[in-house]
Symmetry: C3
Subunit: 464 residues, 3 copies
């Protein structure tokens, strides 16, 4: 996306539209081939009754009392508004932060429906069109959330053209992993601790690794926040925080008992992580708060409780686990992240500390819960909403399968991310120079970034 | 609203409260005369049963499972938060942008109920009070949205007193047009492509014309954006974008099949326009993005799909139409808008490019759909949710009626807007000098706009 | 929270984590002792049917059609996003404003469940665990809202450690007052005019009094707003404004008639106060608008209508009362607040003008409504949703009881607030020096506040 700067080739300058327009028409064609309305929206046969045209209605998920559309909208708001504004924290990358996130939402919300048809065809051996309905829109949110998390790892390092590549590959890789975990290992993950957060974080870190970007190559002043960019980022944090219970609970249409418990466990956990993140941050920074930790670690309760939230745990357990999430995440930002960057593991927005570590930690808690004395989660497999299938496992076996799911997720995310990162470095894909990373100046028709003295205000009176 | 500056008359200084307070009491009186509770909220008769007072409940729309209140709230959020923050994009007009929008929401949400009773009396020949219920609140959102769109056309040019005039006239004009289109031409418009977006845009442009403001008269530096004003505007964009499916679908209480299809078609179209707007913007600006286009053209899919979204089109069609909307709108901002301003057609926030052109384009698509081979939309009139009335039209006739509705909307909006603009220029209405346009400095108790060196920070410790 | 500055003791520096971590573990223990799942979420007994584990579902409030979860989410958004961003208005206190609010939400949402069990035990004489369900989450929002209002009174004056103390005490005091008003005086307060707004405001003012902070001791430049901090604050205002109908109506699960009327009365009142606040502000400031009044007085309609909104008043009455709220509040900000500060009544964000005065004014309107000729509110006690209990009161008696409830609320809030304020001044609780009040610089790991020339940008590249 450094197209505007170089004298360079047409590809450098117009790489994004050159990629995007043909791709958009491909998406339209693939939509025609891979999607159709769920009959509940499409049948709509206009029958003729006594000369009048009358439409026959069928019952559908839309009218369910379990507030599915509302919860879907909360989850969509987390993607577009929540992640979008969380990513304006960087002083000179405000416009690109929110806009890249916005573009990814628009593109992925479409692409996931195609990706789903493809992945289903791979595993089932025969091709079925994706039936578009509210469930599919929710699935779109989940997958897009994973892509947005990955975005954080290479935040500011990639051109829009490179981001398209991630948008194309990651949903496919994620759906493959999800299929293996759900249908082969029979491990359920209500809030996506593993399937969304952990997968997204390590995919993103692997992408950075594949792109061979290292933090110390960037101009030092670019990796800076400002007073107002951080105010903007707090919008994102607060939106993510308050809607998290909806995100974890949205898929539970048909089971209000579980949905209620999920919402409440998530609510308790995220309150707890908010509380402990503040205290940990002050402890780690000699009596002062660190803004990036408040923006991120306060949310860790929602990630860490994701897999265990439908379990029949007691309220105090949810508070304790959530509080632990806040401590681990805040401490990770303060101590582990700088250490890892010194070791060469670049992670632009430190997504590992919010999504990666709390993600697999949540899976481990869920695995340990299999050994709990409470009969209700004797087999965590069975207490996770789907009790109709027939699996007889011991507690230790189910523990093992959850650990296996974690390893599988780490493996698939890292390998697919690494491949994507290497692909992003190929010459056909416009790259960003290190000196142009994390600064809007070269990607936008803009003359005034903050108080940079080099530049004059831009005029939107474009006929001048 | 330049009242504070001039030594001038009392009217110049206190024009707004002089207008507003009597008007407010008039509204209270008109409310008493023109509105009443829908019986479902008002009957509430306290009967006495065995010495106890017991309230008798009646069933009402509130308890419907079709999430009406939720969707209403999304639509209201688009008006107040969405348009409000979209209108902070101008560097020195941040406070006035969001506040004028806020005032218009507060006033119009009330006034529409009065306006509706008046317009209904005109057409029906007899007077009925407006029965306040959730449907009326939704109607309030739709009408207010049209006023807010018009606001964009003369954004920064009008005093608050002049804005009141628009708030009074436009809902009446809009309801007249709506009545003609719906009940005489029998053309339905689910998402308001024509009745809301197109009407609002051309009403606003006609107002500017009537006010005889021309862009080149403004101080050049005032028509400027800043890094942070544009961050604020992205809040508005993102809120509008994510809630658009609710806006288009909110009126379909009693028909979940159609509501579901509307929501999904809108969702697909708006994802597509987000995608193509980014690519078009880069293409039009030599490899760089233009912020105003990202803020606006990404939303064009929701406008262009508005009239056709309840039709039984295939998912890929919605993607294609939405994508086209993004291209047209983004290209319009980049190329047509500067050209039109040179011709003397002033449009402060270029609302024609987001609401005007995609609006009538949406109507034309709906008209063309009448010729579609699919039996379901053989008569678009009948496939638009109301099949109970008895109209027998050929495909070509319905095509003609939709075109007629478009012409009617353009005509009524332009004429009523022009008259309003001329009225706004009368001496009884405080005006803004060109040199004070698009700058907060003269409307607010403010001493510090951004980094303007003339001024010191203001103290809210007002007893100093 | 001025820990970072002084050479001082460990308590000065690490006071917050020293207080918070033990407290957090206490909360976990108290959660185990004081809370349990509502059986509707917890019973979830996995019975074994033919070798399969099958979960038995019970019906629950979650599936109600009265949009309870949605309205809860709106109310939660008001607390976290609404109040949070309203409190960024101060130029140098943006981060602390939104973050302190965020911490209070996280902590109070947990603590209220413990507080409720304690207060119930006090009044009922025997101990019952709080049954966690959606109703309790709503209660959490109401109580937290009161704490957030109090926060406004000592906005910028208290350290985070002192804020914890308020979070611990105020919910208990508020629940005691609520119990007395509801169960002894039999006065209902749907939207919390008295129980939430009035209580919160006077508790906060009493805290300032007890802390012995006086406005004139602060460095003058700290009590300042900036162009962008006020833009941020408008996010809060707009969010509070649009969700207010949900806040007032959220508790009315089982009575859609009343819920509908509450939502509509609130909607009318808040539109009216928006309208009149603009006009009053211009009148009070010689033709210019004052931003703090627009941010606050526009909301007064929601406060003043809170107690009377379920009554069977006519729509025009709601408009009139709301409009009056806007005038009173705006005038209060402009004239009374500076006067009171001169008298020594410090109120940092002038919460008395938005929550205090409109709060008890709302109670007086409700009391006066008892004398109304309409049979429906002959006894306001009985027209407030609970008509099953057996109270026979004359109009004058019910009037008297509402006045008594107002006096009781003022008394309990003031006394408990005063005690809390004195406790906050004890040496065990880190305090903020007057010279560090209302400035983020000393509480955050920050080097760049706005355009303060003293300081360089901070780097989030923390391995440097």
């Amino acid at each position: 996306m450094n197209e505007g700067k170089k004298e360079g080739s047409l590809l450098d300058k117009y790489g994004f539209p050159i990629w995007l327009f043909p791709l958009f028409f491909l998406v339209v064609v693939l939509f025609a081939a891979c999607t159709e309305w769920d009959p509940q929206f499409g049948v709509d046969t206009v029958t003729t009754v006594g000369g009048h045209h009358v439409r026959k209605q069928v019952s559908n998920t839309w009218e369910s009392g379990n507030v599915p559309y509302t919860m879907y909208m909360d989850a969509a708001a987390m993607c577009v508004l929540g992640f979008g504004f969380l990513y304006v924290f960087s002083k000179y990358y405000v416009w690109s932060g929110v806009s890249t996130n916005f573009f990814v939402c628009g593109f992925c919300f479409l692409w996931v429906h195609v990706a789903k048809a493809i992945v289903n065809a791979i595993f089932e051996g025969e091709f079925h069109k994706t039936k578009l309905n509210l469930n599919e829109m929710v699935t779109g949110c989940y997958i897009t959330a994973a892509v947005l998390i990955s975005l954080g790892a290479f935040y500011g390092f990639a051109s829009l053209s490179q981001v398209i590549l991630v948008c194309l590959v990651e949903p496919v890789a994620m759906l493959i992993n999800e299929h293996i975990v759900l249908h082969y290992l029979h491990v359920k993950d209500a809030g996506g601790s593993l399937l969304v957060h952990c997968f997204g974080a390590y995919f993103g870190i692997a992408v950075v690794c594949g792109m061979r970007v290292r933090a110390e190559q960037l101009p030092e002043t670019h990796r800076t926040t400002s007073y107002f960019s951080n105010m903007g980022a707090m919008i994102g944090t607060v939106v993510l925080w308050m809607f998290w219970p909806s995100f974890n609970g949205v898929t539970f249409y048909n089971d209000v008992t579980l949905q209620g418990r999920i919402v409440m466990n998530t609510y308790l956990a995220i309150c707890a992580s908010c509380t402990t993140a503040f205290a940990t941050s002050i402890l780690a920074h000699c009596g002062k708060l660190e803004m990036l930790e408040i923006q991120n670690a306060t949310l860790a309760g929602g990630v860490i409780i994701g897999m265990i939230c439908p379990f029949d745990i007691q309220p105090w357990t949810a508070v304790l686990i959530g509080g632990l999430g806040g401590v681990v995440s805040s401490f990770g930002y303060a101590e582990c992240h700088p250490f890892l960057e010194k070791l060469g593991v670049t992670d632009s927005a430190a997504v590992q500390m919010l999504h990666g570590i709390p993600g697999w930690l949540g899976a481990i808690f869920a695995a340990l819960a299999c050994f709990g004395s409470n009969h209700n989660y004797m087999y965590s497999y069975e207490t996770q909403w789907s009790t109709t299938e027939d699996h007889h496992r011991t507690r230790a076996e189910q523990f093992g399968f959850i650990i296996l799911a974690t390893v599988c997720t780490l493996l698939i995310s890292t390998v697919s991310g690494l491949i994507t990162g290497v692909l992003m470095n190929q010459p056909c894909c416009p790259r960003v120079d290190e000196k142009d990373m994390l600064i809007d100046h070269d990607f936008w028709n803009i003359e005034d970034i903050g108080h940079d003295p080099r530049i004059k205000p831009s005029h939107y009176n474009r006929n001048v």
